[in-house]
């Protein structure tokens, strides 16, 4: 059949290669691939990593509910919990991620979720914190943006939900997008029966014709609810282009992460031996308090982040940053280019890219020298 004489042709022609149920094929592929890489049951791609975290919290908590989170979360996530969600009456208690007793002490009757991050300044003891969470019928969400599934699969260690920002998955600084992965490990039905929590997942929902998500899917209820309600309500869906960028990036994830990690390890060692450096917070160093835990959780390496403190305080840190030539002055992660940013008074946070490590070390040594000279 050809041409405009075929009934409905003008409309049908627009449907060619469209997919069933309106799902975007690039987005659906991305969601499944990351879910598979994490060993979870399903993924939801979002506009940003921040949107993935928001979607997770909004799916499980409402006004009057409470979250316990690691105080070492990245500034954006900390801001969302401490300010953005507090305005909507979801309170957060921040705790030392190293201390399972602190997590336990922060639990209230209205607590709905634990949120941690790996790797950070302090390494989240996922098995220990997950055990505390599960003993109180709470799920543990881990922001694994800086680890990627290449370095760490939080679900294997007891986490129930994982979020990612686009950076390392896409391999491009400035890439936008995020993912929320459902591990399918948390038994919402049992937690609801014991505590009454998570009624949105476990009781008939009049908004959705009486659907009960925990009955429809024994292991994927969270994802069904998050997609049907949260993704549609808040609208933070990912675009096809961003999903495609991440899909392409994923193909080189292992190669890139190995290089990031190797560079970070060498840079951390170089800095640790430098007289102008007061402290290096990279868990790959044997002197880091979480080194043993990091070796256990992150056998392939400790990520691309190297935070360190200079002698000479904030002024020296600023002079150091000004003197860098290879490192970009930004905090974008995941790209090929290394960058450096201030993190607190005298701490500098380096993200190690994919450049020649000798070049990076030379740039750092020169900048450190200039920073000390100005004092």
């Amino acid at each position: 059949m050809s041409g405009p004489n075929y009934p409905g042709f003008t409309t049908l022609a627009l449907h060619v290669a469209a997919t069933a149920q309106g799902a975007d094929p690039a987005v659906a592929r991305l969601e499944e691939r990351v879910a598979a890489l994490e060993g979870g049951v399903a993924g939801i791609a979002t506009a940003t990593g921040q949107a993935a975290l928001h979607l997770a919290v909004a799916t499980l908590a409402g006004a009057g509910d409470h979250v316990v989170a690691a105080q070492t979360l990245c500034p954006a996530a900390r801001g969302l919990l401490a300010h953005g969600l507090r305005r909507q009456c979801i309170a957060t208690t921040f705790v030392d991620p190293r201390d399972p007793a602190a997590w336990q002490a922060a639990i209230r009757p209205e607590t709905r979720l634990f949120v941690g991050e790996v790797p950070g300044h302090a390494v989240l003891d996922i098995p220990a914190v997950a055990a505390v969470a599960h003993a109180h019928d709470l799920p543990l969400l881990v922001d694994a943006t800086l680890a990627t599934p290449w370095l760490l699969k939080p679900l294997d260690h007891g986490a129930d939900l994982v979020v990612h920002g686009a950076g390392f998955l896409a391999g491009q600084q400035g890439a936008t997008g995020g993912l929320l992965v459902d591990g399918g490990t948390f038994d919402w039905h049992a937690a609801h029966a014991r505590t009454g929590r998570y009624a949105d997942l476990c009781e008939p929902d009049p908004r959705f014709d009486g659907r009960v998500f925990a009955e429809e899917s024994t292991v994927g209820a969270f994802t069904l609810r998050a997609r049907a309600a949260g993704l549609s309500d808040f609208g933070a869906a990912i675009g096809t282009h961003d999903a495609t960028v991440m899909l392409r990036g994923l193909e080189t994830l292992g190669l890139r992460m190995d290089r990031h990690v190797a560079g970070a390890r060498e840079v951390a060692a170089t800095l640790a031996a430098h007289p102008a450096v007061a402290r290096v917070d990279h868990p790959g160093l044997a002197t880091h308090p979480d080194h043993a835990l990091a070796r256990r959780l992150l056998p392939r390496g400790y990520g691309a982040v190297v935070p360190f403190a200079l002698h000479g305080g904030p002024a020296a840190a600023d002079r150091f940053l000004d003197a860098l030539t290879i490192f970009a002055r930004s905090d974008g992660t995941g790209g090929a280019r290394s960058c450096a940013t201030r993190d607190g008074a005298d701490t500098v946070r380096l993200f190690i890219g994919l450049e020649d490590t000798d070049d990076l070390r030379a740039d750092l040594a020169r900048a450190l020298k200039l920073a000390q000279k100005g004092a």
Binding site: E32, A36, V41, G183, G184, E216, T218, V219
Partner: protein
């Protein structure tokens, strides 16, 4: 929806809908180490089409309490008890894998109650290798991983999953792990032994269940099924001469691998019953 069957709590998923009296009820029976949720896509669709649907959790599986039953004959009798408790006189019995043997046996035990039989991923004898039986007994987690690998056409995401974003083999694996957690009493091994020892299958010489099946019967086979390969089901299929055979391009986990194809096949079958 919860029922009382033989003094134990029995659960069956009944998706939202308003059942019409002229539409046949459909009962979905899951296989070994699974629960009702493997049938969700089909159950929701038929419920929306005004069919009464009951996707059961077998005893000791998911939300149904009590120890797992040891034989297919006991499971079939339990299923008929559940139909009594639910007030369902006659129904289309749809079963997957071990569940297909249960549906077959229930139709044999109570021929008047089966409007039709839909047997997915079925074969007889449903032999379970000694290695897998032993692994299920000694290391359930390892047996789950073996079976999950053999139950899907591919372990990596191929076609987009349903619902969107689901990695189907990952969800299947997690479901089996959940069933282990909920019932640590060697559920997988119990189910496998039941499959392995079910004698009342399709050997024509044995004057058995399949030969006695009088109701319309549909086989749905996965072209790439390694657990119950279509070739292995030839004897069973031949013993029900009026049976129709439909093939779907997937592995053993037909309902989750190809939910729409399976639904459409069942839809044709159920429509043809009128």
């Amino acid at each position: 929806m919860y029922f009382n069957v033989n003094g134990s709590t029995a659960y069956a998923f009944s998706a939202p809908g308003t059942p019409a009296p002229d539409r046949p009820a459909i009962v979905f029976v899951h296989g070994a180490q699974n629960d009702h949720s493997v049938w969700t896509a089909q159950a929701r669709w038929f419920a929306a089409q005004d069919h009464r649907v009951l996707a059961v959790d077998l005893p000791g599986h998911g939300r149904s309490t009590g120890p797992a039953l040891a034989t297919v004959e006991q499971m079939a009798a339990w299923l008929l008890g559940l139909l009594d408790a639910a007030g369902v006189d006659r129904a289309v019995l749809a079963g997957h894998s071990m569940g297909s043997l249960i549906a077959l046996e229930a139709a044999f035990q109570a021929p008047a109650r089966a409007l039709g039989l839909a047997l997915l991923g079925s074969t007889w004898p449903m032999k379970v290798s000694d290695t897998l039986l032993e692994t299920a007994r000694t290391d359930e987690e390892a047996a789950i991983d073996m079976v999950n690998l053999w139950s899907h056409a591919g372990i990596a995401p191929a076609a987009p999953g349903t619902p969107p974003g689901f990695w189907v083999p990952g969800a299947a694996r997690r479901l089996m792990q959940r069933l282990s957690q909920l019932n640590p009493a060697q559920l997988f091994h119990t189910d496998f032994v039941a499959c392995n020892t079910y004698a009342n299958g399709g050997n024509a010489a044995a004057a058995v269940a399949a030969a006695a099946v009088g109701c319309p019967t549909l086989f749905v086979q996965g072209r790439r099924d390694m657990m119950t390969p279509p070739r292995s089901a030839q004897a069973l299929v031949a013993s029900i001469p009026h049976a129709r055979v439909a093939t779907v391009d997937c592995g053993h986990s037909l309902m989750t691998e190809r939910p729409d194809d399976v639904r459409a096949t069942l839809q044709d079958f159920v429509r043809g019953l009128d």
